[in-house]
Amino acid sequence: MRILFGFLAVYFLTVVQTSICPLLEIYQVTPDLLLLMPAFIVVSSNSPYRFLWGGWIGLIHDLITPGPLGLAMFAFAISGYLITRIQPQLYSQHSLIRLSMISLTIGISIALLTALRILFQDYHYPWAHWPGLVAGITLYTSTLSVPLILLTAKSKHPHLSTF
């Protein structure tokens, strides 16, 4: 059931990413909702293999964007794996920690992905633009994750589950 829901969510986010997100461009930066989903799963799920969602959604990401396949898959999988290793156990469901971990996941994924695209000469931006591009996409996408975090805040720690 969770897998079915996951596929539906991926489909929905793919549609939104390709039809609506280009309209939300600010200073040549658009949010990456397809990246938001694996980041959210990695932070929220308890499965040890949850980082694999990053790989599969990365593949979808590669297919809907021009450029070589496998780059987003590679970046999302690595970042998801790193987050599963470093995610704190204490207060892991606290909204602020979840937001921080999601932002970190997004940041690592975007940093890896854009670096790989520059290396593969898919992006023709100079490296000087790389930090700004990473920061912009990370900030924009993390901001969009705030309502999602608040909506799914668990009552496990009632005093810490919300801001």
Binding site: T14, I20, L23, P48, Y49, F51, G70, F74
Partner: protein, 336 residues
């Protein structure tokens, strides 16, 4: 912790995923393109649905924006209307002023104006307001039956209720008759209601039966700007009511309320007071105006009664000519 229980271990799954990703980077386009086309064809229905929803949403947003803009436009138009009404009132008052000056200027442009002295001139009779002690003295001197109007006793309701009437020490012995205007300065206090031989009862403007025709006016640098004519009514309270003023005339708090009763007799406008509040009637056809008299009877000692009289200079100059033309009966009637 759970590392040993995982099968396959996490790092193995990661390595497999990374190997797959690395392999995909070198996939030839004949494999890559069908994959992209398949995904695009799968996503296309959703994109079309999203497009329809977004277009519908944009239409709704445009409708809301238009409604908001039209609301703002209505507010702007209301402000403009208020400004135009203000200008309209100002121009109307200016027009009234010019309409009064106009005939004189137009006539003076083609003929020599010969101003004539007024036929009727006012005489002011001074009288004192009688208090309770004075009335008691009159009663003691048994002059009540002859001196007070209509035999009214000082402690009766008519005289004692000083909120609507006062007693003054002038009567028929000074040719006073009911209806004459009583002043303090150029402000009307009331009018003579009853006269005795030595005293008279003055009906104050606040009396509920008091009525007079008035005209509103506004002080400007060029003099008085005359406004609409109406009817003043006493209400039994300090505030007086003004009625029968159409809504198209400008009225503002502070406007003067001038009596029309002594027109042609007194050259100075005799005022009742100033407009206190003004608002339109529910059907917006007339003004509902309340005014207040500046006079306080308790602070007054003496008053003046206006008595119109013929201008002696004119009557004397005309008398010989009338005597000469004995056949003109109309002239005789006019000056007798």
């Amino acid at each position: 912790m759970t590392y040993e229980r995982e099968f396959p271990p996490r790092w193995t799954a990661l390595v497999a995923m990374l190997l797959l990703a690395t392999g995909l980077t070198v996939v030839p386009s004949r494999v890559e393109d069908p994959l992209r086309d398949t995904l695009r064809s799968l996503v296309k229905p959703g994109q079309q649905l999203t497009g329809r929803i977004s277009r519908h949403g944009m239409k709704i947003a445009q409708t809301i924006r238009n409604a908001y803009d039209s609301g703002t436009e209505v507010q702007v138009l209301k402000n403009q209307l208020a400004e135009m009404q203000e200008k309209h009132q100002y121009l109307q008052s200016q027009m009234l002023t010019l309409s009064q000056k106009g005939p004189i200027q137009q006539t003076g442009a083609w003929a020599e104006l010969l101003p004539t002295p007024p036929l009727v001139r006012p005489k002011l009779l001074q009288a004192r307001i009688l208090g309770q002690a004075a009335m008691a003295l009159l009663n003691h001197q048994h002059t009540i039956d002859r001196g007070l109007p209509n035999g009214v006793l000082p402690d009766s309701a008519v005289v004692a209720s000083l909120s609507s009437a006062i007693l003054i020490d002038a009567g028929t012995d000074h040719d006073l008759v009911p209806g004459k205007t009583v002043l303090s300065g150029n402000t009307i206090l009331g009018r003579i209601r009853d006269t005795g031989q030595h005293t008279s009862v003055v009906q104050l403007v606040q009396d509920i039966d008091y009525r007079d025709t008035i005209r509103l006016a506004r002080r400007t640098q060029d003099g008085l700007n005359w406004g609409a004519a109406g009817v003043l009514q006493g209400t039994g309270t300090e505030l007086l009511r003004i009625t029968h003023i159409p809504s198209q005339y400008p009225v503002h708090p502070g406007d003067l309320v001038v009596s029309m009763r002594e027109k042609g007799i007194v050259s100075t406008p005799l005022v009742y007071g100033t407009v206190e509040t003004c608002e339109l009637t529910p059907d917006r056809s007339q003004w509902q105006i309340a005014m207040r008299s500046p006079l306080s009877v308790s602070l007054l000692d003496q008053v003046f009664i206006v008595s119109p009289g013929l201008n002696a200079s004119r009557t004397l100059s005309k008398t010989p000519s009338i005597q000469k033309s004995k056949g003109h009966e109309s002239d005789r009637i006019r000056f007798d």
